[in-house]
Symmetry: C2
Subunit: 707 residues, 2 copies
């Protein structure tokens, strides 16, 4: 029975979890350094744990309320799946944070001996996180899918959808909350420390530094993990839902139906194994080759996945009468697009290339030209990723249509889009790993600075960190393109389910969400507004929280005698700053999070056409805004770093001061608003997908009534 | 014959032109002040004229190439209409610029006697421009419409469409070119003069000041005029095209068909007369009531138009079996939305309100927080205008459906959307007038400063100018919402014509541009990308040109002995700066302009579904980006002005320095990129509309082939 292949997914998950456990223990076994280092790391651990616990406490109420609503409006099992999806996200985030906040000091300690060891600790803790994210996502989703899609006489996608909705909701809060936390601390600490007091970054006298380090972990580790966990689950789900719909409508049957259904699980399982193999390729003793080493891991993993996709469709072709070989094009298009967008992002945000160097040059005439050049570069940087993304969609769709042949061209076409999203996300474990390595290296540098270790240690961690900055930008590019592709696949699933429900009820006819219906256009415009609204809310939140932080740090500098003078007996009250960030993040994340869930439901209750337009508006405009904000921020950051290498007068020059302004503006751009919009795209789509049965019941025969 | 009512439009145009001529002569008759003032004004006149001539020369080739293509691809008469539309735009822009550059010194001179006289000169020159823009637009369009729609046995909308396309193309170049010109000069002059050399704004020693003053005229007068001229023509055209389609499809007939066709002309004619009446309401001797006086003019005009709409539909109702009274709701919704969006824009950009004051406050912690707060405010400011706009669309559509009844609900619904755009734009003459008054007052202040007049003169012109800043922001809000509504109406016309062509050919079936077609979504995403691409191109152009300007001004300060020291014998080489702005604007405007025309045609050749999606993507995302950029820039500008009133330390304080950064970044935002995107929305739509017959011929029976 080909269905049995579905079990490969949980099996691969168990293997992946085993490797992750091994890596975690390996990291924790390393030397954590001297007492001062352990103390500092302990502060970060405590802060991060306190924040995550507080965040999870706040989310329990939200999750329970939503679960009850889901239980009544949709199905009690959907509510259970929702809770599982959310819970596993929380577990993955917590484990990742736990190891990352302990890997920092161990990376610093390893850096005392050389760069290779430090890279190994940081990267292994990162890839551990990546594996946990991917395996928990795959495990949870595959088990629900096995029981309610693969081995169920009447597949019930609305139950499995709930899992992804759980993942989405948690991801949104984690990203928004984490993003506000980290940037409030970062902006606040920098503005008072670097700009006003004139002390270096990560100086132990600055009470905001611990909060800043905590932020890296809750934002870039836990937040990014939750983000990709969700994309990953969504990308696996979408083609499965489409396969179920194809089977239900009679477009496919027999072995085709089975393979179409289990293929996403098989590919995901293979992706996890490929990521584990890729892990061994990352190793170097040469500090100039860190980036190459990381790239080697990514490319090796991708290469294996390419081969795996090929083998899978060849096997399918052997059993099928259709030209299923074409589906290789669909899945490969997604994977290739992911790699290409990563490279494009790198081009626009790394200081080895012209765009960032031009921003650095513009800093010579002051901060205004730095900002103008940065914004203009960021806008321009959206063009190529957009073209790559739509090329992938078009290729995936057309290849799918070829596979489908005359009788099921459209169905296979949209299935192909689903496969392309999945293809892109098969390498999730590696991508998260490469990204989560960044904050560990960053923290390691902070600990080296604060613990007063010799400067060459800090230099080594800085080398790791500067590569981490680029990989973080690349991961953001990947996160947003995968979000767009996943959202598109989920949107197609949404429309397909809606139509299926309409066909099943003899009173209804399939709807056309056509652009000549003004309500659809109204929906698109509202959708296009959402990223701006979200951007405003999250930027405003960072601004407010950073202000509170600034006031507190100024107070400490003023009131704690001897602190600024550097008296070794005097310690700043770092916990006060941690508290400010925590409270601000919790307070400010609720409204955006709730709106993202509520608005699609309200629009769907009003009119399904508005909702459909809305989803596409959010998708299109959100993708652009997210790329724009992430790249602008990354480019500003590295323009500053470029000047710090000595260009245009180097550190302390007027150009540097101007570049610091851009960097500060870029902080909420790239780490709060951009990523939040990114998740918004997915949340609204998956919520709409889950509520399809509800909309169908509600509108019944009146679905066309209003219009 | 009710058709004869169509002649009201050219008649009203002639009356309007007469009043405009009277106003022009009145303004030119005023005392132009002393020799020094006349000399300065002469420099501005010469610079503005040289730029416009150079711009028009560059556009002749473009216009002729497009006309030849149109002649072959569509219809020789369409090509003629295209050329007329472009030519009249050029004429209107030139006349407006001619009077405005002569009104500046006359306003300064009048200000020596008091504020009332100065207001009168500045406002009359502005409203003269408004009348020229509106009357030439209405005259040209109505004559083409009378001959090829109203009194033509087989109406040929594709001919009249050409007129609007001509208006669009010129508007795009005028806005992009004018925007680059004005901001290159402004940013360059400010950065070297105010920031580096520490001399006041408009100081006669600064060689960039004349170019800056020229820029106000070519950007804010000629550019804004061309922009609204185009919206106006488009808004009149769209409901007429829809009326023709309704008649052709048999949805309406008899008197209904005639009135539906001539109503847009009647309302526009009435709007011009109402604007003339409103003109007399603007008059005050009290400097604190300038804004109120201007508002009074706008509200009086709007009130008359409301009444006129009501009378028109009541008359229609008397002759019709349908509930055409409902159409009052459609037209009034547009007019009301225009007023509401104006007020919302004022709220977000005037320093009497909290948003701008918060930006000013944030400037205390430096330019980074000023920028963050500004961007966040700008994003937030998109929410209400969007909601108002979609409410207007929904109301217009639903009211139209009521008027149409069961048999023609959708047709009347979209006609209602057309009427709402028209309703908003009936007050175009007043809106342009209120806006064009701003740069005249601004220039008047510059001349007062440069001519060394007593400070109280400058104070008076500054009072006029500060009101002008707010009205300019309001006009921008109006321009973008009217652009969106017009584009939407034109999009509906595009779709309707496409369907009509398909129905006429028995081989074809009406297409559904449904969002479940991935190519439509691909189109939406490409469309959403365009505003970012345009933003990047125009911001980059300003940045490059400003840099060239900075280098030149620095050179003059360095090489011209005695210039900075203030030697009265030494004059800066202002012409060199004028040349830099002119060349930069001409060079940089071509690519964006050509792309805006070419891309929709290419997409339409590829696939009409992609094109349809593209148009909606540009519309939705472009509307948001344009509002965002215009409001952010306006808010930054006024935050700086607020600090200059003495808040947060006043002029010269650190907060002020930080606010200057925001103001400088805001310059290209609000005056180059935002307005350019605004026109982009309309250009792509009207080009697509004009090329419908070409697409139909090209794709023929294969329209559904690819998909």
């Amino acid at each position: 029975m080909a269905q049995m292949l579905a079990w490969l997914a949980p099996v691969a998950s168990v293997i992946g979890l085993g490797v992750a456990a091994y890596l975690a223990f390996w990291v924790l076994k390393q030397d954590p350094g001297n007492e001062r280092m352990q103390h500092l790391s302990g502060l970060v651990q405590k802060g991060a744990q306190a924040f995550l616990f507080a965040e999870y406490r706040a989310l329990i109420i939200f999750a329970l309320v939503v679960a009850v609503i889901l239980g009544f409006a949709i199905n009690p099992l959907t509510a259970c799946a929702f809770l599982t999806g959310g819970l596993l996200s929380v577990v993955a985030g917590y484990i990742g944070m736990y190891v990352a906040t302990r890997a920092n000091t161990r990376t610093t300690q390893a850096a005392t001996k050389g760069i290779a060891g430090a890279l190994r600790v940081a990267y292994r803790s990162g890839i551990m996180m990546g594996l946990v994210v991917a395996t928990l996502g795959l495990m949870g989703l595959s088990l629900w899918a096995i029981f309610f899609l693969v081995f169920h006489e009447h597949p019930e996608p609305e139950i499995v959808d709930g899992f992804v909705m759980g993942a989405s909701s948690i991801a949104l809060f984690a990203r928004v909350g984490g993003g506000i936390y980290t940037k409030a601390a970062d902006v606040g600490a920098d503005l008072v420390g670097k700009v006003e007091a004139g002390i270096p970054e990560d100086d132990p006298r600055n009470p905001g530094v611990i909060a800043d380090n905590v932020g890296d972990n809750v934002g870039d580790v836990a937040g990014m993990g939750a983000d990709l966990y969700e994309s990953y689950a969504g990308a696996i789900l979408a083609p499965m839902v489409l396969a179920v719909a194809m089977t239900a409508s009679g477009a496919i049957s027999g072995i085709d139906a089975v393979i179409a259904l289990v293929l996403p699980l098989v590919l995901s399982a293979g992706g996890i194994i490929a990521s584990i193999i890729g892990l061994f390729a990352v190793n170097t003793n040469d500090s100039s080759k860190i980036h190459k080493a990381l790239d080697r891991g990514t490319f090796l993993t991708s290469g294996i996945v390419f081969a795996l996709i090929l083998v899978s469709v060849v096997v399918w072709q052997m059993y099928s009468d259709r030209s299923t070989l074409w589906l290789f094009g669909s899945a490969a298009a997604g994977l290739a697009a992911g790699l290409a967008i990563g490279k494009i992002t790198e081009y626009y945000t790394s200081y080895h290339n012209k765009p960032v160097q031009k921003i650095a040059k513009a800093s010579e005439s002051g901060s205004a030209t730095n900002i103008i050049e940065g914004l203009s570069t960021g806008m321009l940087s959206t063009v190529l990723p957009t073209l790559v993304l739509i090329a992938a969609v078009a290729v995936a769709y057309v290849c799918g249509m070829q596979a489908g042949g005359a009788d099921a061209a459209v169905q296979f076409g949209v299935y192909g889009i689903g496969l392309s999203a999945l293809g892109m996300l098969t390498t999730t474990a590696t991508t998260v790993g490469v990204d989560a390595y960044g904050p560990v290296a960053d923290n390691a540098g902070g600990i080296a600075e604060m613990a007063g270790l010799p400067p060459e240690i800090r230099e080594r961690t800085d080398q790791l960190d500067s590569v981490g900055n680029t990989t973080a930008a690349v991961a953001k590019g990947f996160a947003v393109s995968s979000a767009a592709l996943t959202a598109l696949a989920l949107f197609v699933a949404f429309k397909t389910n809606l139509d299926a429900g309409l066909v099943a009820d003899p009173d209804l006819v399939p709807m056309s969400i056509s652009l000549d219906n003004p309500f659809v256009i109204v929906g698109v415009v509202i959708g296009a507004m959402m990223p701006f609204f979200f951007g405003a809310m999250t930027m405003g939140a960072v601004s407010r929280a950073a202000n509170a932080m600034i006031i507190e740090i100024r107070r400490q500098f003023r009131e704690i005698k001897g602190l600024l003078a550097g008296d070794p007996e005097v310690e700043p009250d770092t916990e006060a700053c941690v508290r400010i960030s925590t409270q601000a993040a919790l307070r400010e994340m609720m409204l955006p999070g709730i709106l993202a869930v509520v608005i699609p439901v309200v629009l769907g209750i009003l009119d399904v056409n508005i909702l459909a337009g809305f989803l596409i508006g959010v998708l299109a405009c959100g993708f652009l805004m997210s790329v724009y904000m992430a790249n602008t921020g990354g480019a500003w950051d590295n323009a500053k770093k470029y000047i710090e290498t000595g260009a245009h007068g180097g550190k302390g020059s007027d150009a540097h001061k101007a570049a610091v302004v851009g960097d500060t503006v870029g902080d909420p751009f790239k780490d709060t608003s951009g990523p939040s919009i990114n998740i918004l795209i997915k949340v609204v789509t998956v919520v709409s997908l889950v509520f399809v049965p509800f909309f169908l019941t509600l509108h019944g025969g009146f679905l066309h009534g209003l219009l």
